[in-house]
Symmetry: C2
Subunit: 122 residues, 2 copies
DNA sequence: CCCTATTGACTACGTCTGTAATCGGAGTAG
DNA sequence: CTACTCCGATTACAGACGTAGTCAATAGGG
């Protein structure tokens, strides 16, 4: 089931997570223009996502409406875990430490996370 | 330079980050046995990493000694940023929040990170 | 009813990846 | 000198990916 969503496919998923159901046409129109994809490319990606059961489609007249089957949260969680496991021995602290060391954290980030953690303990 | 290191290649890099320089043979012996790679496979990966300048080799008699050119920290940072940008709009807080929501944080994690952040402000 | 525009399905194709066998040259044991 | 061995380099090959063209069916416009 966890058929591993590729990068290009992910771009399509983002569209459907944002709004669904949509027709292939709609999706093509909403994909990040950065990509510069042709409609056909988007259709192929939709087809592949269907094949891996990441999305589903229901007939609507002579076209299909696509909707995500995988929740964004689940995908995001999976990817995050994969990275943390692979690079930080499965622990979040080293990641935060790493970002901190490289000055990738703003004062605001720090406050936000502190507040968040405080809440967690409550 | 930033030739994007693949997953299999990454496994080889981990060995060299752990200890270097090493011969191809040494690397093959130290790669995670989980992978079950033949020596040839490791050699191919070393070749590809050379091609993308992620590692370098120096002649030592009849063989080569391989050493990393890319620092682990840089690699790790790059991958982390990529994930955070792609999935969390470039901000760390949502990632932490996400992990928290899914109960992926232990009490110890929380304390550690709090301590870390406290230090940062000092 | 016939032509054209639309839509999903199928096909294409070069690149990258994972995995490995093979080839050719250089020492090494006789 | 000769057969063998060790090593890096070259080649192989299937499956995933990014990207897109073509085909067949269908639904409207005349």
């Amino acid at each position: 089931m966890a058929e591993r969503i590729s990068d290009a496919e992910h771009a399509v998923m983002e569209v459907l997570w944002e709004e669904a159901p949509l027709t292939a046409q709609d999706v093509a129109e909403r994909v990040d223009p950065e990509r510069g994809w042709s409609t056909n490319t988007v259709k192929t990606l939709l087809g592949r996502l269907l094949a891996k059961s990441a999305i589903a489609h229901e007939e609507q007249g002579r076209r299909y409406l696509y909707r995500p089957l995988v929740a964004r949260d689940d995908y995001v969680m999976g990817e995050s875990r994969r990275l943390i496991d692979r690079l930080f021995g499965g622990r979040l602290t080293p990641l935060v430490a790493h970002l901190a060391e490289r000055d990738e954290l703003t004062a605001q980030d720090i406050s936000e996370i502190e507040a968040l953690l405080k809440d967690l303990k409550a």
